[in-house]
Symmetry: C2
Subunit: 195 residues, 2 copies
């Protein structure tokens, strides 16, 4: 049996709460006070359980990545076609234009933009997360090629990088409050390239 006073909070729920804070405010602007309040734990518990702010951030970013990639993978598998999956994903994202959700962006692209040029762990974790998105897109592209929706002789990695670029750009447009109709039209143009 484990000895000592038992932990009084769910590390899982606390990590999720921290994720929301980093997502909405960014890494540097998220203060430890913001985090403590959202996680509803004491300062000593945070440092005891997570080490420090950077490690907590790494934990939340890895979880976000795991959640996102897992969810997208399931959705891809459940889709009638990989092309339908991509159309659904980009279409839905574009339709967020003007909503409160649009302002949040994606934690991965937010982090890549904020931390990209730093040489630390957080930066490389952001990089890996972007690569994970490209990896998922490549799977989708290859399946779309197998299904005959994309020509088999096209470079799947180049197309996947193009889709990552597209999603990152889409997220930036949404953050800058772009008009919904224009964003939807631009997303449509993005997907037309695949055909």
């Amino acid at each position: 049996m484990t000895r000592g006073r038992p932990i009084a909070f769910s590390p899982d729920a606390a990590t999720n709460a921290a994720m929301q804070v980093f997502w909405a405010r960014g890494y540097e602007s998220a203060s430890t006070r913001d985090l403590l309040e959202a996680m509803n734990i004491s300062r000593s518990s945070l440092y005891q359980a997570f080490g420090n702010k950077e490690q907590l951030f790494l934990e939340t970013l890895r979880r976000y990545r795991g959640n996102l990639i897992g969810q997208l993978n399931r959705r891809l598998e459940a889709s009638p076609s990989a092309m339908a999956f991509l159309e659904g994903l980009f279409g839905e994202t574009a339709r967020e234009a003007g909503s409160e959700r649009a302002g949040l962006g994606c934690l991965i692209f937010n982090s890549a933009s904020e931390l990209g040029q730093r040489g630390d762990l957080a930066a490389s974790e952001a990089r890996r997360s972007v690569e994970a998105i490209t990896g998922l897109f490549q799977e989708a592209v290859m399946r779309a090629q197998a299904e005959g929706d994309i020509a088999a002789d096209r470079d799947s990695l180049a197309l996947a990088t193009y889709l990552t670029l597209g999603m990152a750009g889409l997220r930036t447009l949404l953050k800058s409050g772009a008009d919904r109709a224009q964003v939807e039209a631009a997303a449509q143009l993005l997907l037309d390239t695949l055909r």
Copy 2:
């Protein structure tokens, strides 16, 4: 004649120095000490000449936008064709991959990403700057249509929004340290859509 002690620094040069700081570090992470050191002026001079940190940022962002749009306009005018201008612009940007310059990104897209969802002046100035980029792209698209490189019946604003999305995504890819060959291939795919 103006009375009193004359200013001992060039507001122009100081603004440029501040721009570099905001560009490299972002708005929130750029401390007034960073700014003072780069601008090589005293604290009182900063507040006397620029008001406060936010106003200084607005000044630098407006200048960056003016410089960028002006330079791109001149380059567009000097280009043999609008399509060649776009190809040159996206090609050159993609070729930055891996360089130190790539980590900096673009002050406008950096600001849109960092400040997008805030409701203040800085956020709306970032928004206007993104719109200015779209405006420039629309001019290029319309000229390319007049020159027969883009079908005249296509929606120039939608294409321009698509190009803004593309440049924003390209900048994010560069920041995340993406492989140069892949970035170049993705940029090529972006431009293929126009034809």
